[in-house]
Subunit: 355 residues, 3 copies
């Protein structure tokens, strides 16, 4: 799946992190965010603003009058969801966040129904989207696709902001944003000084890559990378952490790490990126959270998962009060609405309205 | 078609009717309906309420001011259409009913674009939908899917109502509701005392199963089941009718039944449920309504069909004033809007508004 | 692609232009347009009205108050997009035009998810759409499909307008409308007296066929048909031009024509209509616009393309001020909104509102 690799020969398949400051500056605006492509774009002040706005949106939308106000501000804007990889969660999360903000949406989910069938270049496709809508949300199997889309539009008469909703094995910045929002909300005292345990297919998991980069905004944090040897975190991320003075450890000791973690972040094997079924040769049974593990964990810790899950978290764990993944998922709705509100310049209009 | 049977091993393929009262109570709320899963949930008082509200919605929406009022009450609600079987009519009927009520909609119609591709369990998928929307409308090829979805959500922090928009060969309660609305509207004096003739593939037709169950709410009704022997109505439905004292007859005499019927309800062969093309061996030519049959029929009778049709009703029959299937189809829009209005608790707000 | 040719045996595959006046009258209303099926329906007064309304819509929607007003007039109407051929541009253009007008939309894009799978006739499918919505926009691979849909509905109790969004190799009237709007807007002094150069696969290009027919509304225009011999314009269009006294020339001299043209209208090879890959045997390299050609062209000329493009226009041409195809594409949004506003009878309500 993931659609044919049409006309994308010029998009780099492997993209290193962290992105250099010149590139970041290129995609930002004076209010801090325009295109949202990389986790590196979220510095601490932007994160704090987004957390504040997310909380405010949640409060505003506790009444129908608040809902209707929130939906009135961007009622004349239109968003496009271009998802060339299968997705339920991120797609629905963004689409419903658009609806919360009052935006109409349109979507291309299946490359077979689009003009790429007719041999159109990717650049022309993106310019076409920009002709019709005010915001483009992209999920793609190519690592640099969203960035390339943003660059393509920068040179045109009608640039519109691009939001990266998941790019290949590279980045998933809005997932990292909602993860940070969730940790900040449920960890006593917030994220500073806490230990984050990342478990699973760290090599190809764009979510954990983006989240690790975001951790550089916090003080005295520690990251435990827990994976089978075949799925270790890539050197570019480890290098970025080292350069930022973030303490981390790589280990295969799942149970030992559990006892230390404030956040236990589970992920699934990303076998859609297999080239020859290599995931089947890796035993991940040791990296699955089962009810018997809960007693090893700190009382104040939380369990997260970007979802969808397979066997990484036993369904019986759901009943534990530390299981926060369903709340995490729903937080995505509000953080994405907040992000798009900032992108489209209505942050202050929303903040000025009393909840 | 119908999508792969992913993670649904635990859903019972064969579900017997009628559903027991304890189960029914489980899925209802104090206002009578919460999840809408079975025809058995519609007792006569609920049917009468829904007919009244449907009529009121039709009256309200005769003016733009009325339309705009109706669309304002649920403007902050969002519905999800999860259709894993091909559908035009029911899908569009529900989606446009949502739009009449002012709700935004999102949809998953093709399992290949969703996270079930990534091995997510059905329960997790449903919880995810519930994270983002206020109502989930489900069509599925598995008989007990919608019920299983409702049960899954009942145990969570964010239950939302489930509406069954067609489940395998088992039930299609909202179709039966619109059928009852249509008969009540066009049969002189209503449904009590009338004869309903159900024709076609009665064995696998979820529509006729649900409709037969709904007839138990009416007095002195009689049902004629007309089918080739291979497609006879299943014993569970016949048993439910017998237990309720509903008079019925099974026959292969199409023309004889035509002369007695107040409602002639035609259906197509449900060959999507064939396992080895067995439908091709059944001659249904004798069970097709052609212009020459019209003279056998009562003047005051009506012809219904859940649609889509193949050869069961000759297109030349459409011109006969008794042909009510196109009006029946459009009635679905309003009955479904009324049902969702009750489900989401705005029945009284609508009724208080003068048409 | 294009979906299975189900139940469409009775639709004529080859449809000749121009359409006779009796047929045109059949599909029009007293305000000039009801169904929009053929380029021949656009006479000069209608074109001028649509240009005026398009300009007014652009002006109105320069403010949020204007946007909100425009979106309020049809807030109770619903449109259906039935696209059985792959499309990005036309689909998104219409859908977003609907959203600009405040209409809700629903869509069937993939025949596999619809009831045609269940053997429903095309006529029944169209009647079903008409049951639920107020306007149907159709793209289909069959030449006469939209016309057949309109005829089907004319005899029913619930006719709704049909808009042809591209029919086989036959016509694409709304593309021609936006092309005319674009030429009128950017050519100094408008279209009268100008030379239009149509380049590419003229035989199977529905866009150039419709546009050529529209040219009959203008005075002293001249058309240069530039194509390889295998892709020459069909005799029916040439005959229609001759009968209307429109001057035209067929040539293979691309560069010679470039020097004379006021509008250079490029098109791609329509190889989706190949029956045996015949397009691959045609050399179109000589009919591609490259930067070195720009010096042959008039200073005041414009370059158009219905898009998507392949190699017909080199991307480096985009930077030339005469390259108008991206503006042309965006103009489609506004001309289609204007067309639907006329179709649905709100032209005057919009015009009365000061921009």
């Amino acid at each position: 799946m993931g659609g044919p690799s049409l006309m994308t020969a010029d998009i780099p398949r492997a993209v290193r992190s962290p992105v250099d400051p010149e590139t970041l500056a290129q995609f930002s605006s004076s209010n801090g965010l325009y295109h949202c492509l990389f986790a590196e774009q979220f510095d601490r002040p932007i994160i704090e603003r987004l957390i504040k706005l997310t909380d405010h949106l949640r409060a505003l939308t506790k009444t129908k009058a608040g809902d209707d106000f929130v939906a009135s501000v961007l009622s004349n804007k239109r968003a496009m969801l271009y998802f060339s990889q299968p997705s339920t969660r991120t797609f629905l999360s963004f689409q419903n966040a658009c609806h919360i903000l009052g935006m109409n949406t349109c979507e291309i989910r299946d490359p077979r129904t689009s003009s790429q069938m007719k041999g159109e270049s990717f650049e022309d496709t993106i310019r076409t989207f920009a002709s019709y809508v005010d915001l483009i949300i992209i999920r793609h199997f190519e690592n640099g696709f969203a960035e390339h889309a943003a660059r393509t539009l920068q040179g045109t008469h009608r640039p519109v902001p691009i939001i990266n909703a998941g790019a290949g094995t590279y980045q998933h910045p809005t997932q990292a944003l909602l993860d940070v929002y969730t940790m900040n909300r449920y960890l006593p005292g917030g994220i500073d000084g806490k230990t984050l345990m990342l478990v699973g297919d760290l090599q190809r998991g764009r979510t954990v890559r983006s989240l690790a980069l975001m951790m550089r905004n916090y003080k005295d944090v520690r990251i435990l990378f827990v994976s089978p040897p075949q799925f270790r975190m890539m050197p570019d991320i480890l290098g970025a952490l080292k350069d930022s003075g973030i303490s981390y450890e790589e280990t295969e000791d799942f149970e030992g790490a559990l006892a230390q973690a404030d956040t236990v972040y589970m992920t699934r094997v990303q076998d859609e990126h297999d080239t020859a079924g290599e995931s089947r040769t890796v035993d991940i049974g040791r990296y699955c959270l089962r009810p018997e593990h809960l007693r090893f964990m700190k009382k104040s810790s939380i369990i997260l998962h970007p979802l969808p899950r397979r066997d990484e978290i036993h369904p019986d764990v759901d009943a534990d009060p530390r299981a926060a993944y369903w709340r995490q998922e729903r937080n995505g709705l509000w953080t994405r609405a907040a992000l798009m509100a900032v992108t489209l310049g209505i942050e202050n209009i929303l903040l000025e309205r009393k909840a």
